[in-house]
Structures are given as structure tokens and as C-alpha cells.
Symmetry: C2
Subunit: 343 residues, 2 copies
């Protein structure tokens, strides 16, 4: 039950979004393609794999069109604590929209949001979360939703770091995305988060265009209005949940071939890694283990957000790469580079 | 009712697939990027549009990432007569599978298929078509379905031309796809046909990778089998119909931004063209009008397959480009080039 609830929360509450300036892609220290990664088995495994699949004389050579790399977003490309960023967006939207809905002040679950009742927020069940996601994400055009995301992401600040959420992207992962692309890979986001929440900012932040973002989605309907204006209307119905077993389904639907490289951080990524591993030929599967409570957060098996339990066991059994954030990353966030990161 | 039935047939029966050798992309006569197009208003409109959106000093300049071009498949990139190619595939599959289902000999709608009863086949309703599509497209893994498509497309021959279906792609459209890509466009197929039916051959034939193919789809489910092998299982449920108003929905879901260039040939493409036209800035919308009964087929307003009626009226009112196959194309199919095409 708790399991199911968490999964559903990952589905509904969950979407992600933020990032770093494009200059982050350009960063490199001398010839090291991954300067924010400490030398160690994880970094070596990545570089060895890329060398093996790109060297034409290698037995593991993979032609460019088949170099498909998929990345989870929340907790893999940017921080997902203390709550999924998309949920933070939804909470702020409730506050913005409240002036048009005076009765929310007295009505759960809006009351808890408006009063900043963290205890009540944390205890929310699936139904309450769905209500909050519905009023903030549906019954509007896709253009209006995109505008609300753009407005928010430009101004909202993370509660712990007091920085734009797009600063909470992981510098080592930004480097990894660029390194793979420089080696002929096509990089995709495959997230349980809402695709419409990610697309407005992923190109600027990750260098990944909207058409390479796969995520959860609601039903949209085409409308030709009397003035001949065309819109897509976001209905209050879930269409696709790109999480857990939904990730291979989403990959097949949107990409149409198996990745050779997949990177996640939670049990919601397990099936994506299984699907990737089972493709035959050289494959790279990795999990980010959040072990750094000082620079980021330390959590795994017991965490409500980003629970990493079964997938961690399977990674150990099958020899997948487990990245230990504290040990393997020289820098976590770019803004920490001069302080914590430069030690 | 007939309208609805036709639409549903476009949904279920419809999927497409065939093409030309990659050498077709390379063809060019001197400096003409579109040698298989006769000089005329259609060809000039294409070249003028591409010049306007790619010249940096132009008021209509569009940056490379936003140069999204979408193409219908059946009747736009390859022939759809006398029946959708995917339906021809399904009929052949019924014949192949019949040995395992002896009772089909006596059971409609299989009886008509096995006896080659063209009259009964033509009179089939939605339910019968769905039955045929279901037994040939579902209740198997995606890998097995892909194999059945690859096997068929390599051997099946078009009844009129006695050539592989992939030879029934339009040489002028192959040139147009290459011309757009050479000018920084990203080309997508947006078809009512089944996405899993197209992806096995579109890259070879159109130069369009699987991840840039949008189509109708059924529900698939991820399975981790006892031997740890992972499969995606095709269930007998329609998930998404990428036709008519579904095309803008599919474009939004898969691409996440509006095309600036869209090309179709039937009423099923009308909403894609409306959605494209309404995006603001320079836009190019075109319809292929099948007017050449000698080299291809002549059909439009009354046709059961590929009906072009409302969209033709709207194109005329709104000034969209209507390509007249007989007048505007020097060559239709590459294999005709030395005969009809060279006149």
C-alpha cells in the first residue's frame, strides 16, 4: 500500500525541471571530458564504455544512430529533495491561483498549502495530491501551461539553497550529457515527471531538445475555435505514467529502439535499466546513489522521494555501475565549485 | 456514418511502409535540389519558403532547432492505393497464420481474405477490419511484430507494379525530405498508420530515424520473464489514433513544438495543417492532390482511401500549396524515371 502510494505520488506529484546555463557544457579542465568526476571506478567505467562502442575496430562498436542514451530526471539530472520540483511548482501555483478561489482558504487540501502547513502537506495522500495537480496542470491550453512553467522557473527559488531550481542540476551529469553527445550519442530524458513541465526549460539547461523528452502526460484535445485559432486543451485525465514499467513502454513508444546507455537513481528506474541491459551487445547501466548529506542529501532505501532499494540490490548482483555521489563527484552543483567542490 | 467509418478505417486498417534505396537521396540534376519537380508554383513556393526561413537576415528567419517539418505517410510519402499498405500486410499475415487456425477457412472475416474475395474485402466494416488488425498486430512481443514486418516488406510486391512496396515511395518527396534536412530541418513522419509498422523501414527508405516517427499505437506492457528476459507485449487495445484531430495531439506529445512545415494529402491531415498554420511566423502547408491516373492514381473528393475534400477547400481558401501530381511532378516513382518520368 505504502509502495503503491509512493509510486502514485511519483506519478502525479512528480515532474521535474531546472538547470544550468549553457556555459556549463563548455566547462572542461584540460583534456578531461568529465572534470567534475573524481577518478574512480564509476568514471573509468563510463569512459571505457564510450571508448569501446565508438572505436570502429572494437568488437563492441555501435553505429551512431543506435547510440541512444536515456536519463531519468528527478534525482538523476537535478535534485529531487525536499520535494519533487514539479510539486513545488504546483504548490506555488495554488498560492497564485488562490485569489480567484477564495473558498480554498477553508477547503482541504488547499488550506494546508495556503497556510504552509508542512505537516499536513507531508501527510497528503494520493487523492489530495491529484487534486492539487489537477487544478494547477489541467483545464487550460498547453500554451497557457507552458507560460505558467516559464514564469515560475524564472523566479522560484529552492528553499535550502536560495537559488533558481535550474541551478540545482548536477554539474557532473551536465558534463556527462555533453560528453556522450560529443561521441555521437543522442541523449533523452525519460522521466516520471510531466513532459509539459520539463520541455520549456530542458533545451536551455541540458542541451536536450523537447522532442527528446519523454515523461508522464495527461490527455490533450485539439480544438478549432470559432475565431479559427487552434489550441490543445489539457484535460483532467492521466494518459500515460512514464515510471517503473512505464519507462520501457515510453522508450519504445517515443524512441522505438532500445538504449545502450541508461542512468537512473531510484526503483522507478529499475525496469528502464533491465530493458537496456537485456538488449544484447555492449550496454551501460548506472544508478546515482545519494550519499552526500553535506553538499546535497543522503537518502536511499527508506526515502519517500527517490527510494532506491530493489534497484540497488539488482545493480550489485548484475554489476551495474553505482555512482556514490560523495565519493565520485568532485562537484555536485556548479555554484558550489569554488567552495565545497574545489577541495 | 460513412465519414466515421472511413476515419476508423484510416485508424485501424491504416499504416504504411515501403521505400527507396538510399541512393535516391543522392540524386540531383546539376544544381537543382528538387529535380523530380517540374518548374511551377508549387516548387517555387517550397524553395522560396526554405530561402526565407534559413537566411539569417530575413524577417522570417527561423533558428535551426525550430525547423520542424512533419509529413503524413500514406498518400503523401508513398502510395496508398488500392489499399493502405499496412492493410495489405495484414491480409498477407492472415494467409501466413491460417495454417495454425484451420477454422479460419469457414469463419468471416478470415474466409474472405483466404478466398481472395475482393468484393467481400471491400465491403468490410470496422468490426471486421479490427478483427483482422488484432490477430495480425497484437498478442505478441514488439520484437516478434517487428520481425514479421521486416520479413514481409522484404518480399511482398505491389499488385499493380509488381515491385517491392518500398519502391512505391514518391521520388519528389524523397528529394524534398533531403532538401529540407540539408537546410537544417528535422523531418518527422506523422501518420495515421501504426508506428510499429513504419519504424522497421523508414530510416532506410526516408532517412528518418525511428524516434522521428509518430503514428497510431496499441497498448504495450513491460514483462520481466522468469528467465529475466524483458519483453514488451502488444495488447489488443488501441492506445492512440494519430489521425485527424489526433495529429496535432501526437505532434505535441512527441515533438513538443509546432511544425513550421507540414505536408499531407487527405482530410485526415487537415488539423495538422491548421495547427501548423496557426503557429505564427512563416509557415508552409501543402497537400498532395492525386491527379495522375496514368503514373499513379487519380482520386480525391469521393475516394474511400485518402479522401481529400474539406482539406482541399480549406487549402484553396487559405492559400496553402496544392501539389498537382500530374502537373507538378516530373517523376512519380524512381523506377519510372527512364520511361514516363524522363519525358
Amino acid at each position: 500500500m505504502q509502495q503503491t502510494l509512493s509510486r502514485r505520488m511519483v506519478l502525479t506529484a512528480l515532474l521535474a525541471g531546472t538547470g544550468m546555463a549553457s556555459s556549463a557544457f563548455a566547462q572542461s579542465r584540460s583534456d578531461d571530458p568529465l572534470p567534475s568526476w573524481n577518478d574512480g571506478s564509476a568514471k573509468r567505467a563510463i569512459i571505457d564504455f564510450v571508448a569501446r562502442v565508438t572505436r570502429e575496430t572494437s568488437a563492441d562498436f555501435v553505429p551512431v544512430p543506435a547510440r541512444i542514451a536515456t536519463f531519468d530526471n528527478d534525482g538523476t539530472l537535478w535534485a529531487e529533495q525536499p520535494i519533487y520540483v514539479q510539486y513545488a511548482f504546483a504548490i506555488d501555483r495554488v498560492k497564485t491561483l488562490a485569489s480567484k478561489h477564495p473558498h480554498w482558504k477553508h477547503t482541504p487540501p488547499f488550506k494546508a498549502v495556503l497556510e504552509g502547513d508542512h505537516k499536513a502537506l507531508a501527510a497528503m495522500g494520493e487523492k489530495e495530491l491529484l487534486t492539487i495537480m489537477t487544478v494547477t496542470h489541467t483545464d487550460m491550453t498547453t500554451d497557457d501551461f507552458t507560460k505558467s512553467v516559464n514564469d515560475w522557473i524564472a523566479t522560484a527559488r529552492h528553499p535550502r539553497f536560495d537559488r533558481p531550481y535550474t541551478d540545482l542540476t548536477y554539474q557532473p551529469m551536465i558534463e556527462l550529457l555533453g560528453y556522450l553527445r560529443a561521441n555521437g550519442f543522442k541523449t533523452f530524458v525519460v522521466s516520471g515527471g510531466g513532459v509539459e513541465f520539463m520541455r520549456p526549460w530542458v533545451e536551455r539547461v541540458y542541451g536536450i531538445p523537447p522532442e527528446q523528452v519523454i515523461g508522464s502526460s495527461g490527455v490533450t484535445k485539439f480544438q478549432l475555435r470559432p475565431d479559427r485559432k487552434t489550441v490543445l486543451w489539457k484535460e483532467a485525465r492521466v494518459e500515460f505514467i512514464d515510471d517503473g514499467p512505464g519507462k520501457p513502454v515510453g522508450i519504445n513508444r517515443f524512441i522505438g529502439r532500445r538504449p545502450i546507455f541508461a542512468f537512473g537513481n531510484s526503483d522507478g528506474d529499475l525496469q528502464m535499466l533491465q530493458w537496456t541491459a537485456d538488449g544484447g551487445g555492449a550496454r551501460f547501466m548506472a544508478l546515482l546513489h545519494h550519499t552526500d548529506g553535506e553538499r546535497e542529501w543522503a537518502y536511499s532505501r527508506q526515502s519517500h522521494v527517490g527510494k532506491l532499494d530493489r534497484a540497488l540490490d539488482e545493480a550489485k548482483v548484475r554489476g551495474w555501475t553505482v555512482v556514490d555521489m560523495k565519493r565520485d563527484w568532485r562537484t555536485v552543483f556548479r555554484f558550489q565549485d569554488a567552495t565545497v567542490g574545489a577541495r
